[in-house]
């Protein structure tokens, strides 16, 4: 209850300062939009369906891209974790690659895939693949060895061992990496969409810029934040809670 009160106070204050600054007209509304203007932009965006379409297109892309990186990342991470040679060579490369913003791949992606959705997907994958890989590698190492032994002992081999034992056993250790991977995928997608105009939230945001409609820009920014927050709060928090219940781990806070 106290916590809810603090939340309400904080956001009400933020909103109040925004309204105050906007209403004081220190800057013209096309530079500093009012809350009313943003609400108006949100309303009309949803009313004419353009936001719905943008959300659907963006979600589709990020889900495909993220799914690819999760599958690839798990295979890569498992390989790096279980092979000394790969660990020593590729392990270091992966860590150093992580400092590279995924949008740097954009020029290459354009040449390799052409100006189409695949180029965007490539950037999304490059954005989140490393997080997932490193998380999987780490999770595989942190996972108590005994699970693998018990699994083998009970007759699990090869893919079955991976699917029924190693993967579920390492989930609690990789869920934060999966979450980080999702955040990177989402950011990479929006960035790529801003560079390449074809539906999607990133493009709608750039349209706001082209029309000099800062209310629309802020409206889309709010949408991007909201979607990221909802996925994090529902999908990943839910997954964490589920794992905690099953494993009997104390809630992480």
């Amino acid at each position: 209850m106290k916590r809810a009160g603090r939340y309400i106070f904080f956001y009400a204050a933020l909103f109040g300062v925004w309204t105050l600054l906007a209403e004081l007209r220190i800057w013209p509304p096309y530079l500093f939009p009012t809350p009313g203007g943003v609400a108006q932009a949100l309303y009309s965006g949803f009313a004419d369906n353009s936001y719905w379409i943008a959300i659907r297109v963006s979600m589709e892309r990020v889900l495909i891209g993220y799914a690819i990186s999760v599958v690839l990342g798990m295979i890569l991470g498992l390989g790096v974790a279980s092979n000394k040679f790969l660990e020593e060579t590729m392990g270091g490369l992966l860590v150093s690659l992580q400092s590279l913003p995924s949008i740097c791949w954009w020029p290459l992606a354009l040449l390799w895939f052409g100006l189409n959705q695949n180029a965007i997907l490539f950037v999304v994958v490059m954005g989140s693949l490393l997080s997932v890989t490193l998380a999987m590698e780490d999770g595989r190492k942190q996972m108590p060895k005994i699970f693998g032994q018990a699994g083998r002992n009970l007759g699990a081999k090869g893919f079955k061992l991976f699917w029924y034992v190693l993967l579920p056993a390492s989930l609690p250790f990789i869920v934060s990496g999966l979450k980080q991977g999702w955040a990177f995928a989402w950011r990479s997608l929006i960035t790529a969409e801003m560079l390449y105009l074809s539906l999607g939230l990133g493009q709608v945001l750039m349209m706001g810029r082209d029309l000099n409609d800062m209310s629309a820009v802020i409206a889309v920014m709010l949408l991007i934040i909201a979607i990221g927050y909802v996925v994090d709060g529902i999908v990943f928090k839910g997954m964490e809670r589920h794992l905690q219940n099953k494993w009997g781990l104390a809630p992480a806070n």
């Binding site: 699970f147 018990a150 083998r152 002992n153 081999k157 029924y164 579920p168 056993a169 494993w247």
Partner: protein, 315 residues
């Protein structure tokens, strides 16, 4: 079961098994040569270890001999306990039999056939944490059968059967963390039995439990062993536990692990840790074990302090 409920011993809930009195006709006496009648199938060994050696390189680069030419034959249905000081490689030996590691030389044979790698004919029960926390109790028990490709209906039936066997039928849907330590080991036993292995390998399974729970599980294990006729190789550092459970106690030396001596235990079952005969037999094993424990302690206290275990002090 209900008929014998009146002569229930203090360590409830396992009533005296009507099967035991028949076996109780064995010769009394602390340790004597000769086997109980049911084990007299000649030369028909379930498990044969021949010249098992294991050496590995330590981090400093020197070669360490962990096991040195272990020879051990275990009859079908026999309950063998391996004892030895920590560091004698008794757990390692169990992992070798399970196929989780491989020996440097020598051979593990089951029913006269050499084995390589893991196999569901030999199931290992770990000291702790061997259960899968992401699965329910029932799913844990089901796991080995699922890997074997046994149809679901049959699996369900067996899950129920084996959970009843360890008195946990009501906990099929629970998760592992909701169970006590003793219950978890019972699940582990049910999970191991559900794959219907010929040989149960138990690696200090009760070491982390409190005394009462351990007593109870001794009774249960003895009953399950009598019911199912499995061959059991049981590793422990607790000599009394070994005498309490085993048909035979095998003593391993400290680094490198060798078979130092074997003690057939010919006491009537069911036994109890408190039986004077058990204590007496344990004393005999302990007298031999003491040297090994001292060697292991000396190795640990290389700095010069060399504590000795005095006669009469039990490990």
């Amino acid at each position: 079961m209900s008929t014998s409920a009146n002569n229930t011993p203090a360590h409830f809930p396992i009533p005296l098994d009507p099967r035991f009195p028949a076996r109780a006709g064995r010769k009394l006496g602390p340790v004597s040569v000769g086997r109980p009648a049911i084990h007299q199938l000649p030369t028909n060994f379930k498990v044969e270890l021949s010249d098992i050696s294991l050496s590995y390189r330590t981090q400093t680069g020197e070669r360490l001999l962990a096991l040195d030419k272990i020879n051990l034959d275990v009859r079908a249905g026999e309950f063998v306990c391996l004892v030895g000081p920590s560091g004698c490689g008794k757990s390692t030996l169990l992992h070798l039999i399970a196929g989780l590691n491989s020996q440097t030389s020598g051979q593990v044979m089951i029913d006269g056939k050499p084995v390589q790698g893991t196999g569901t004919d030999r199931i290992l029960i770990f000291q702790e944490h061997g259960l899968f926390p992401w699965l329910s109790v029932g799913q844990n028990v089901e796991f080995g059968m699922k890997m074997k490709g046994i149809p679901k209906a049959e699996r369900q039936e067996k899950v129920q059967h084996y959970l009843r066997l360890v008195h946990l039928a009501k906990f099929e849907k629970s998760y592992i963390h909701q169970l006590s330590g003793g219950m978890r080991q019972r699940v582990a036993i049910a999970r191991a039995l559900a794959t219907e292995p010929d040989v149960l390998l138990m690696d200090e399974p009760f070491a982390a439990l409190d005394a009462q729970t351990r007593d109870l599980l001794h009774d249960e294990l003895e009953r399950i062993w009598a019911d199912t006729g499995r061959t059991i190789i049981f590793v422990t550092h607790n000599v009394r536990e070994a005498i309490r459970l085993g048909d035979r106690v095998v003593l391993l030396t400290f680094r490198p692990g060798r078979v130092k001596s074997e003690f057939p235990v010919n006491l009537p079952r069911p036994r109890s840790l408190e039986d004077p005969e058990v204590a007496l037999a344990a004393r005999e094993v302990l007298d031999e074990l003491r040297d090994e424990i001292n060697r292991s302690l000396e190795a640990e206290y290389e700095a010069g302090v060399k504590p000795r275990i005095e006669p009469g002090v039990e490990a």
